[in-house]
Symmetry: C2
Subunit: 244 residues, 2 copies
C-alpha cells in the first residue's frame, strides 16, 4: 500500500487483532472503528438505540468493581458469560431495558473493551456493528480520513465475524475514490464477506466463537447481531466514555 | 477453538503476522511453518533444491555485515532490492547458481528472516513455499503436532500471498482427523485460497506486494514462486541454520 498511495488517498486497513494495532496505527489523525460483533459492539449500538446516555468502557474487572462501588450500573462479561456480582453481561437484549434510558453504563468485556483501550490515543474512535453499518459507512465517507477497522478478535486471535463486518464496510467504501489501492487486509476481508454475505449465519456455522456461543445457548443473540441497519447512531468515544 | 478441542486433536492455526506469534505460540511442542512466498522462503527452497548446504538466517543487516567480514556468502534484501555491498538478494533465480552448491549462505530479508527469528524458541521450524508444499504437508501429517502457519507478512502487516499459501496447506491437511475443528484463521485462509486457486496470479494482481514487485520488474519471480511442488525438500532450522 505505502508505495502506491497518492496524496489525496486515504488508507483503509483491517487490523485483525488488538495486538497488531501498533503496527497499523501510524498517526493520531485517523478514524478507528472498533468491531466486536459477538457481542460487545452490537450491545453498545443497541444500548444507544434504546436511549442509554453513555457507555464507559473499562478494560479490567478491577475498574468495573470500583465503578460498581461508586453506584454505577456495571456490565461485565468474560468468556461469553456475565461475571458474578455484576448487573449485566454483553447480550444486546439486556440493553433494551427501559430502566437504562438516560443512564450511564460501565462495560467491560473479554475483547471489545480491550480493543477500545488499545485505540485510545487515536483522534476518533467509533463503534461499528452490522446493526449500524450504514451509519458507520456514512460517517467514514464524511470524515475523509485514514481508517483502521479494528477487529476485537478473540483474545488477540483472528476471528471470523469481526473480519466479515470489516469486509462489509470495505465493500461499501471501495467505490469512494479516496480509498482506492486497497491494502491486502482489506482485500481479504472483502473477499471473505463476498463469500459469506448471502447467508452469514450459515457461513459462520463452523467459526470458533459461533460454536462457543452456541454452547452457551445464545443463538438468538447471534441472529440479532447479524441484522443490518436497525440503528442509525454512531457511538463515539469522547473523554472516557462513548456517547452520541 | 480452545473449548472444543478433543484430547487427540491438534491445533492448526494461521498466524498472519510475526507480531502476533506470541499470541499463537502456546508451547514449544509444535511445528512452525515460516512462510514468505514473495520471496524469502521460495528462495530458500530453491537454494536447497540446487544444492546449497545451509542457509543461516539473520535478522539484521549488522549481523549480515559481520558474516560478510568473516568471508561468508551473504544475501541481503530490503524492500524488494539487494542491499548495496552484498552478493545476493532474495530472488530465487540467484540461488540456482552452481557455484553455491555445497556452500553455506547467510540471508537477511525484510520479513522472512525476522519471522524465523521470532519463532526460534519453537521445537521445530520448517520453511514452506508453494515450491515444496506437498513435502511440507507430508511432514506435518507425519509429525502429528500442533501447527502454526506463520506468515511473514509485510512489516508485520497482513499480506495476501502468505495467507493463500497457508490456506493451501489447510486445504491439504483438513482431511486429517487430528486437525478437525479448524481455528477461524485457518477457515479464513482456506476460503481465500479456494477463491484464488484457479488463477493465483490473477487473484493477486491487486495485492500490495505484487504491485511492489511489479514496479521492480520482478514478474518472472512471481510466476516462479507460484509454482507447486518443484522441490520435495523441507528446510529445517537446527542450531543456528536451516539445513536438510
Amino acid at each position: 500500500m505505502e508505495t502506491f498511495e497518492l496524496p489525496h488517498q486515504r488508507r483503509l486497513e483491517v487490523c485483525i487483532s488488538p495486538a497488531l494495532f501498533p503496527v497499523y496505527y501510524q498517526s493520531k489523525d485517523c478514524v478507528v472503528v472498533v468491531i466486536d460483533i459477538f457481542r460487545a459492539t452490537s450491545a453498545i449500538c443497541t444500548a444507544f438505540e434504546h436511549g442509554v446516555r453513555s457507555v464507559i468502557p473499562v478494560a479490567s474487572l478491577e475498574e468495573a468493581h470500583e465503578y460498581k462501588q461508586k453506584g454505577y450500573i456495571v456490565a461485565a462479561e468474560r468468556n461469553g458469560e456475565i461475571v458474578e456480582g455484576f448487573d449485566l453481561g454483553n447480550s444486546p437484549f439486556s440493553y433494551m431495558n427501559p430502566q437504562l434510558k438516560g443512564k450511564d453504563v460501565v462495560l467491560t468485556t473479554t475483547n471489545g473493551t480491550k480493543a477500545i483501550e488499545r485505540a485510545k490515543t487515536a483522534d476518533k474512535i467509533i463503534i461499528g456493528s452490522f446493526l449500524n453499518i450504514s451509519a458507520v459507512v456514512d460517517f467514514l465517507n464524511r470524515e475523509n480520513k485514514n481508517v483502521i477497522l479494528l477487529c476485537a478478535g478473540w483474545k488477540d486471535r483472528f476471528n471470523m465475524e469481526d473480519t466479515l463486518f470489516a469486509g462489509a464496510v470495505v465493500s461499501k467504501l471501495k467505490e469512494n475514490p479516496i480509498f482506492t489501492g486497497l491494502a491486502d487486509s482489506s482485500l481479504a476481508a472483502l473477499d471473505l464477506y463476498e463469500s459469506a454475505k448471502s447467508d452469514m449465519n450459515a457461513y459462520l456455522s463452523g467459526s470458533s466463537h459461533r460454536r462457543r456461543l452456541q454452547k452457551l445457548d445464545l443463538e438468538k443473540d447471534i441472529d440479532y447481531c447479524l441484522q443490518m441497519d436497525i440503528s442509525d447512531k454512531v457511538p463515539t468515544f469522547k473523554g472516557n466514555a462513548l456517547s452520541l
